[in-house]
Structures are given as C-alpha cells and as structure tokens.
C-alpha cells in the first residue's frame, strides 16, 4: 500500500518532457518533488504563474509570490506571471497538458466530486470546475477509500459534481486505474496489494484483464 508520497511518486512517472502541468492542492502538490530531473516541465498555478519553483529559503519569502494553495513559492528561470483571465485561458484553451487533482469521489464513467459536502463543508470549487471541464488529460490522486473505509470509486457519485465524464486516470494508495466505457480498468497494483483487496475497496465496476502487474516506483 502506498502513502501520499508514494501516490505522488507514481503519478510523477506520468509527467512527460515538454509538459505544462497544473497541480491541485494536497497530494498533487507533492508530485513536483518526484518528477525526473532530466526532462523539461513547467508547473502552472492558476492564480497566475508558470514556472513555479520550490518553497523559498527562510527570510526570502515574498507575500506577492504564492501558489494557488496560498503558500509562498519561488519561480524558476523562464517563469512568467499573468492575470486570472489569462490563466484560465491557458486552461480552457487546452494549453496546459496535464491536470492532477484530488477528489472525494470518482464514478465509473469519470464524473468527479471534490468541492462540497451538503450541510457540512462548502469550501467552493476554486478552479477545479474550469480545469476538469477543459483538460484533455486529468489524473486524480486520492485514497481509495474514505476515513470510514467506504469506497471513493463509485458507480455514481453521491456528492455534488465538479465535472462530468472527465477523469481519465486515477492513482490511489492501492492501484492505478483507467476510466473506460465499461468502468474502472485495473492497470497496476500498489506494492503488496492483491487484486481481491482492490476489488473489495471498489464499489464501481472494476475490470480485471489477465495478470495485473505490481507498479514500479
């Protein structure tokens, strides 16, 4: 079974040379730590920066330079700043190659819910609805089950949706899955996790074809 860093490490392998990548808050932010150093990648943050770098050294933080998670950041050579309308022009215009975000629920047809729990939690969708409605390539990073042990990979989402039929790939603590017309196709198992364990933790239709390999990290 993977921890959050393990999930991020596995997703980092999906990042290819020449990609512009938008990372959501939470596990997706960790992906930047594991991207291969021999490829050229630029991270976009929807509040208006391309070419995001690591956190600043203590004493060098600048209130005017933050990421979408409101954390102080730095920029790398080649970086640029822009306004919010331009930023979402990059996103809706499909200039960003890969979007990695978290989710509360994903359904077997690729619907995603991650912005609201009626009556309990309303934080808002931020940029998530724009991102999932536009991106060609969306990877969801999340735990396979919630804190109560219930599956987050469902036949139908129960929470208010963020987007419909948009998720392509999901990386959880247990598995890598692809969203297909028939349901969740199991591509890889996390180290030490059996197909039966994944089946038990998946409420939506799980498709198992032949021997499912263990992921290589």
């Amino acid at each position: 079974m993977l921890d959050k860093n393990g999930i991020a490490k596995r997703i980092a392998k999906e990042v290819q040379d020449g990609y512009y990548v938008n990372l959501g808050i939470g596990i997706p932010t960790l992906v930047a730590n594991f991207v291969r150093e021999d490829i050229s990648v630029e991270f976009q943050s929807e509040n208006g920066v391309l070419g995001m770098g690591p956190f600043p050294f203590e004493g060098e933080e600048d209130a005017d330079i933050i990421n979408a998670g409101k954390q102080t950041i730095t920029t790398l050579p080649g970086a640029s700043f822009f306004d919010s309308a331009t930023s979402f022009g990059m996103i809706r215009g499909k200039h960003v190659d890969l979007t990695i975000l978290g989710a509360m629920e994903v359904s077997e047809n690729g619907d995603i819910a991650n912005w609201k729990i009626p009556g309990k939690m309303v934080k808002g969708m931020g940029g998530a609805m724009d991102l999932v409605a536009s991106a060609e390539n969306i990877i969801v990073a999340m735990m396979h089950t919630n804190r109560a042990g219930e599956s987050k990979l469902l036949k139908n989402c129960t929470l208010p949706l963020t987007g419909v039929e948009c998720v392509k790939k999901i990386v959880t603590n247990l598995a890598v899955l692809e969203v297909t017309n028939e349901g969740f196709l199991l591509l890889e198992r996390a180290p030490g996790v059996t197909v039966e364990e994944i089946q038990k933790a998946t409420e939506g239709n799980l498709i198992i074809k032949g021997d499912v390999p263990e992921m290589i990290l």
Binding site: S45, E46, N47, G48, V49, P54, F55, P56, F57, E58, G59, E60, E61, D62, A63, D64, I65, I66, N67, A68, G69, K70, Q71, T72, I73, F81, F82, D83, S84, A85, S87, F88, I91, R92, D111, W115, G119, V122, K123, G124, M125, G126, G127, A128, M129, D130, A133, S134, P160, L161, T162, G163, V164
Partner: protein, 232 residues
C-alpha cells in the same frame, strides 16, 4: 494627459453607498486592496454584494467586513479559510454564489470588454449550470455566463502613474487587471505612485483608460496566509 490621482482613500471611496455591488481584486490575501477595505469598514457601509475570488480570513481582508456584517452577498470561487464566513453561510445570514474561478475572472473581463455573455464548459452538468442556457459547439456542451454588473471595482497594483497606468508584481496581479474597467467606477490603490512619464509605456499591464481614481495606499501589511519555506 488625463490625471486620475485623488487625494487619498477618503476621496477614492466617495459615492460608495449601502447596497452597492463591489468588485475586489486579490487571490487569498495576495494583492488585495487593503486600504480600500479598511476604509469600507470605517464608513460602515452595509448590504454590500462583493465579487471577490475569496473572502479573506477572519481578521483580515474581506473577513473584516464580514465580522461587521456589512456584506449581504458574496460571489466567490473559494471560501475555505474563513470560519465566520462559513458560520454566516451555513446559518443563512449570508447569501453566497459560488462560481468557478475561471468563470469569475471571465465575467469580470467580459464586463470590462463590453461582452454581455460568453460560453464556457466549466460547470456543465453540475449545480452551477442550474437555470443557465446551455449550447453545443463542436460536439461539446457549454454554459452561457453573463458579464458582471458592478458599481465599484477596488484594485491593488504595485506601481501606478498619475495617468492611471498600472504595473503589478508577482501573483498579486491575479484578478486585479480583469476588474479594471469592469465596474462603473474603478478605484486603484498602489504602493508607489509616480509622475506620468516615469513608467515605460512598453511595460504597462493596464492602461489608464480603465482606471478612474488612483491613490497611494497609506500602509501595506501584506499578510502571508501560508508561510512555507525550506531550510538552507
């Protein structure tokens, strides 16, 4: 040269009255018009509708107006870091219209650019689409979103000149340029106010035509919401 300079925050906020719709720039606490917000608190103007990506934190930014119940309705994309906001929203005291962030930016930009409405895929198939016209273009479904109508836009820029030309710094730019010219009156506060001719026209982010009033903010706290650092 048409001068846009006003004497200070008092003159800049002249004409703001109860029940108005205001646009306020900023992302989180980054690039917010601190001086205008502080003066809105002092003036105790009530029943406001505020269009702003976030709602500040409990004791800073728009949180200050929320504490004094000056806001009737908030139009935002993300309101996660504010307990008082959440309390007022869940109890029904505060009306909240949550809008996808790119849509919020474009609704400002459209208002500024004289575009009454536009189509976006964001929110299609979700509760955001409720009551909105949808249309198919090239096999994909889109929602129609209308431009905002606002009375005042409050914007924070880094540098500005007497003619109202603006330059922003870092990610403090965010929604600020989109809101310039998107309301009946655009008020800009800057850290540095310089004579016309001292900014390079090639480097201007927002031309002064979109600005009605400009003044130098008295103080800037520039609070950091999440200080993240690495060790040397």
């Amino acid at each position: 040269m048409i001068k846009k300079v006003v004497s200070g925050v008092h003159e800049a906020l002249e004409g703001v009255t109860d029940g108005m719709t205001l646009m306020l720039g900023g992302f989180g606490l980054c690039g917010i018009p601190e001086n205008c917000i502080a003066h809105l608190v002092t003036l105790n103007i009530k029943g406001l509708t505020c269009i702003s990506n976030n709602a500040g934190v409990d004791d800073f930014g728009l949180g200050l107006l929320l504490q004094k119940r000056q806001i009737r309705k908030m139009i935002s994309s993300y309101v996660g870091e504010n307990d008082e906001f959440e309390r007022q929203m869940l109890s029904g005291e505060l009306e909240v219209e949550l809008t996808p962030q790119g849509t919020l930016a474009e609704k400002c930009r459209a208002a500024k650019a004289g575009i009454p409405a536009f189509f976006t895929p964001a929110g299609y198939g979700t509760e955001v689409a409720k009551g909105k016209e949808t249309r198919e273009f090239n096999g994909k479904m889109y929602l129609m979103e209308e431009a905002y109508k606002a009375d005042f836009a409050f914007v924070k820029a880094w540098k500005g000149d007497e003619a109202g030309n603006l330059i922003f710094k870092g990610t403090a730019r965010n929604f600020n340029p989109c809101m310039c010219g998107a309301a009946k009156v655009t008020v800009v506060e800057v850290e540095e106010l310089v004579p016309a001719g001292s900014l390079d026209p090639n480097q201007i982010h927002v031309p002064g035509i979109f600005v009605n009033r400009i003044f130098k903010g008295e103080t800037y706290e520039k609070r950091i919401e999440k200080r993240t650092v690495r060790t040397k």
